[in-house]
């Protein structure tokens, strides 16, 4: 197993390099140095301002001819100066793709993603956003998984009974609700009209709890239906197995059969789902954070996309790739832990 894990760990840099190459290409195409300058300086920035910014950021270097032309424009009237065109290759040299890619790789490896659009280091923003995100998604995920497993087990054990039918129908009803509609409904009635919870906001430390209860409840309602149905199917595959009959014939009560035998043997598909879900917990729940004003990474991501904050988007993409690589490795290791038949070679 150690050799397997080591091999997988050694693959990681290669996968990461692929991700870096892909994100560099995509972001360079979508947000060229010109567009980045305009986003930073505003649409009203003049060509000269754009070039000055690019020079400061290392995207271009002025040539001697370019500098001379630049100085000459300062003696002209504003109208004349605007007629002057600065040409790439003659007046300034753009930095090569390779050079830019080299800087990008360096910044990823040192976790230096530059500053966000408010001039704050991206790494600081990520760190600050991590707590609020996890404080929402971790309890929400744990509670919804526990409840989901519990109901799934129950439905499977009492299949074709009234209990099973009630659980399955309830799950389908929950799945039929639109998540956004549920959030809006919950926020309007439970928070705004009936004042059981705050409508919007967040505070540090344990004060955050009162702002988190409603989003957690809504997360539970939105995700529970699908989880119960999935778990029920997984458990149904197990409840007819010989070992279940053996356990019952040995006199084990139903709770022992359920929680000790069926649950344990259903863990492989559950682990697959959990690890993938855990990897994305860090971004919180994008919509819930946005609606309830939780200043986490989900909210940061939406904000970054809305404002073309390329450095933040890049960082989130890289962080996501790393999380998924670790989660995949973790799930493989956990398979071997929960099922002795699995051998990692």
């Amino acid at each position: 197993m150690f050799a397997y894990v080591l091999r997988r760990v050694l693959y990681m840099p290669l996968i990461l390099f692929g991700v870096i190459l892909l994100t560099f290409t995509l972001f360079y195409m979508v947000a060229s140095p010109d567009a980045l300058a305009k986003m930073k300086l505003g649409e009203k920035a003049t060509r000269l301002q754009v070039l000055d910014w690019q020079e400061n950021q290392g995207y271009i270097t002025w040539t001697d001819d370019g500098l001379e032309k630049r100085q000459a424009t300062q003696r002209m009237s504003t109208a004349e100066a605007k007629e002057v065109v600065f040409v790439d290759g003659t007046d300034y040299e753009s930095r090569s793709w390779l050079g830019l890619f080299g800087s990008y790789v360096g910044s990823v490896l040192t976790f230096d993603f530059g500053n966000d659009r408010t001039d704050k280091p991206v790494s600081e923003r990520l760190w600050e956003g991590l707590g609020p995100s996890l404080s929402l998604t971790l309890p929400a995920f744990l509670i919804s998984e526990l409840v989901g497993v519990f109901f799934g087990l129950f439905a499977a054990m009492y299949r074709q009974s009234r209990i099973d039918h009630t659980i399955v129908i309830s799950a389908i009803i929950l799945m039929s609700f639109n998540g956004i509609a549920l959030i809006m409904f919950g926020q309007k009635f439970l928070a705004a009209d009936w004042a059981y919870f705050p409508v919007h906001g967040f505070e540090a430390g344990f004060q955050a709890l009162r702002f988190l209860i409603l989003p957690i409840i809504l997360y539970l309602i939105i995700t529970l239906g699908e989880k119960v149905r999935f778990n029920r199917i997984v458990m149904l595959d197990e409840v007819d197995q010989d070992y279940v009959r053996t356990a019952r014939s040995k006199g084990a009560n139903e709770n022992t059969v359920l929680f000790k035998h069926v649950l344990r043997n259903s863990l492989i598909p559950l682990i697959t789902r959990w690890t993938v879900a855990i990897a994305s917990l860090y971004v919180g729940s994008l919509v819930l954070e946005s609606f309830f004003g939780i200043p986490g990474l989900g909210s940061l991501t939406i904000d970054a996309i809305a404002n073309n904050d390329v450095n933040v988007i890049r960082a989130i993409v890289i962080l996501g790739a790393i999380s998924f690589m670790i989660a995949n490795l973790l799930s493989d290791v956990l398979y071997a832990v929960v099922d002795p038949r699995v051998r990692l070679e």
Binding site: V30, M39, K44, T46, D119, P139, F189, H200
Partner: protein, 679 residues
């Protein structure tokens, strides 16, 4: 009962994770609490400001935040209409010598920067991040503002490579561009690399002359009648050199100004909290006997700022911000399409239900324009296509049903645009509407036929074929957003095209991609908008001035020698000088007529804002002029007691009880089943 042993384990697991989750949630820092009886003004924004450094703040949100802490030489009179500049940091109106193009500004003597660590002798030459918390807490009293600060601030605006605001001074002040050339090269990417950059500010600029501690002269290179407006934008704000050097690039997060408020806390994506600055000079609410100013009469003569604390909450979604407003936790709110339908009657008046809740409505036209600009270099729709291109542009303009667009897409929140200058601005003619911008489908089809296109069809389904290609004419419009509302708008344009036989395709893209396409000139037409920076039509007309072609702001690449000549003549005329104003208006009219002939744009609408506010909040007399004035929050008034009564709410018992029962009863029944199984 053996398996009940699992319960403590599960509970422990949840508790452990909960604790783990909560510990890092202390990432952001909390603002101080408001004292009882404080007048707290709560407003909202949909996102964080880009910067609270006035020389970098280009967007409206950032400029508004800067306006709380930084001040400019002049400000817009809060009550006077049309917009009028009055002294702010300046003591009086400037003296202007037309022969030497020199402005002389005299400063008030009682202006002080806010107390801050940067003024402490031990902080000189230090960078705030290299100091300990204890050192940082050792603040010093803010010093008196002098003419050197104004000189330094103009230089700083020029020197920062990432300042989006230098366009207001570029080529205007003698020697400043030369100063910029060297300064931008010295600017490093970290504070440690900025030693030479900071020292370079000692280099004199010939156009900036400090006469004495409270007098500065600014010598222009060419007539620039918009100069005072330009330096009333946040770019003209006074920044202390000590602050800029102590905080370096992080001045954006540690504003130190002379304004009425001091930043208490900025927690990104959550809130910005401002508290009254104790060092703010004595300034009073303006007085007026005019009957239209009756609403503000109780405030006249009161010392500014009127609120003790201003909290900007970051609320991204429309629903929570509106709910918070209805619950009295925000003083004012805009309305999206659905909220507008909910709050307004069909006559665009506030519903009785809202009025009874103490909510009031105000509406005003923003100095903005929404338009579609054609790429005049395009071979189908631009100048190379000659008369055919002009016909296509004109046909598109005639086919655009502005009234329908405003009703259906904007809930009536707009006015059809028939000229380039928005209402309320000098250069807007009440009796003028460009012929090319009138909605007339028959005329649109006729224009196409006259240009040689074959136009066939009936009702809403037509086909316009170009005989040269034998194919239906297709035009592509680019949009800067991929939001649902943009998709609806794309469908609107598509249907509009069908009515005159044009196949209109829409490309929805991110803002970055849109800018790139615009700069490269690779689009056929761009859906665009412009918010005026100052109340001078020149600001709008420059968008079609030839030398401003891409990557400049003339995204249409419109080049017309006559237009350019008249624009240059118009731009240097001062609308505040009566004898020049007349000529200026005449020239603006001529420019409109050229645009009417060439149709580089389809003018769509001037945006109208409908906004709600609580009756315990006295809002500004929002009309166009205030859109340029970012320092007006000091005039806002909140009745603290009335506001707190509105936001107090009680929870009803029964809805909660029923919901809880619905959740707990099935869980309880299943728990009972587990216990039964055990026995």
């Amino acid at each position: 009962m053996k398996h009940l042993r699992l319960v403590p384990g599960i509970v422990g697991l949840i508790a452990a994770f909960a604790v783990l989750a909560f510990v890092p949630s202390c990432g952001g820092s909390e603002a101080s609490k408001a004292a009882a009886g404080d007048a707290v003004l709560q407003l909202h924004e949909t996102g964080d400001p880009k910067s609270i450094d006035p020389h970098k703040a280009g967007d409206v949100v950032s400029s508004q935040q800067c306006g709380l802490v930084y001040e400019t030489l002049y400000q817009y009179d809060y009550l006077a209409r049309p917009a009028k500049l009055v002294p702010c940091l300046a003591e009086s109106d400037p003296e202007y010598d037309q022969a030497t193009l020199t402005y002389t500004f005299k400063l008030k003597k009682n202006v002080f920067f806010q107390d801050d660590r940067c003024f402490h002798p031990s902080a000189q030459g230090e960078y705030f991040e290299n100091e300990s918390e204890v050192e940082r807490a050792d603040v010093a009293a803010g010093r008196n503002l002098t003419a050197h600060d104004i000189e330094y601030s103009f230089k700083r605006l020029a020197a920062l490579p990432d300042s989006g605001g230098f366009w207001v001074l570029e080529g205007k002040i003698e020697g400043l561009d030369e100063f910029r050339e060297k300064a931008t090269k010295l600017k490093g990417t970290s504070w440690d690399e900025d030693g030479e950059f900071f020292a370079y500010f000692d280099t004199p600029v010939s156009g900036l002359k400090v006469v004495d501690n409270y007098t500065i002269q600014v010598k222009l290179r060419e007539p620039y009648p918009q100069f005072l407006y330009a330096i009333t934008l946040s770019y003209g704000a006074a920044v202390a050199r000590e602050a800029a050097e102590y905080y370096g690039d992080q001045l954006t997060r540690h504003p130190v100004g002379t304004g009425p408020y001091k930043l208490d806390n900025w927690w990104e994506q959550k809130e910005l909290v401002w508290v009254r600055s104790p060092s703010f000079r004595e300034e009073y609410f303006p007085t007026s006997d005019a009957p239209e100013h009756a609403l503000w009469r109780p405030l006249m003569g009161k010392r500014l700022p009127l609120c003790d604390r201003v909290e900007f909450r970051i609320i991204k979604e429309a629903q929570p911000s509106f709910l918070e407003f209805l619950n009295g936790r925000l003083a004012a709110s805009g309305m999206d399409k659905d909220q507008f339908t909910q709050a307004m009657t069909t006559q665009s008046e506030l519903t009785e239900e809202y009025r009874e809740k103490g909510i009031r409505l105000r509406s005003y036209e923003e100095p903005t324009i929404h338009y579609i600009s054609f790429n005049m270099n395009d071979s189908i729709v631009g100048t190379p296509a000659g008369e055919k291109g002009r016909a296509l542009r004109r046909a598109m303009s005639h086919a655009f049903n502005r009234a329908d667009y405003i009703t259906r897409m904007q809930n009536g929140r707009g006015t059809p645009a028939g000229q380039i200058t928005p209402p309320g601005m000098v250069g807007h003619f009440d009796d003028y509407y460009m012929e090319s911008q009138r909605y007339d489908l028959d005329k649109a089809r006729q224009v196409l036929r006259d240009a040689g296109f074959q136009v066939e069809g009936s009702g809403d389904d037509w086909t316009t074929t170009d005989p040269a290609t034998g194919k239906q004419v297709t035009l592509t419009v680019m949009h800067r957003s991929t939001r649902d509302s943009t998709k609806d708008y794309a469908v609107f344009l598509n249907n509009m095209g069908r009515r005159i036989g044009l196949n209109i395709e829409n490309e929805l893209m991110t803002f970055a991609e849109f800018l790139k396409r615009q700069d490269e000139g690779t689009g056929q037409a761009y859906d665009a908008g412009w918010v005026m920076d100052y109340p001078d039509a020149q600001n709008m007309l420059q968008l079609l001035y030839g030398p401003n072609k891409p990557p400049g702001i003339n995204s249409a690449s419109f080049a017309d020698a006559e237009y350019d000549r008249i624009y240059k003549e118009m731009a240097v005329l001062d609308q505040e000088v009566p004898e020049q104003r007349e000529t200026k208006l005449k020239l603006i009219k001529q420019l409109n007529e050229i645009l009417d002939r060439e149709v580089p744009w389809v003018l769509v609408e001037f945006r109208k804002i409908f906004s709600l506010y609580h009756e315990w909040f006295i809002p500004p007399p929002w009309e166009p002029a205030n859109a340029f004035a970012y320092t007006y929050i000091k005039f806002y008034y909140v009745d603290a007691e009335a506001a707190s009564q509105v936001s107090e709410r009680k929870s009803p018992f029964w809805p909660g009880f029923i919901l809880l029962s619905v959740i707990l009863i099935p869980v309880g029944l299943m728990g009972w089943k587990v216990i039964q199984n055990q026995t």
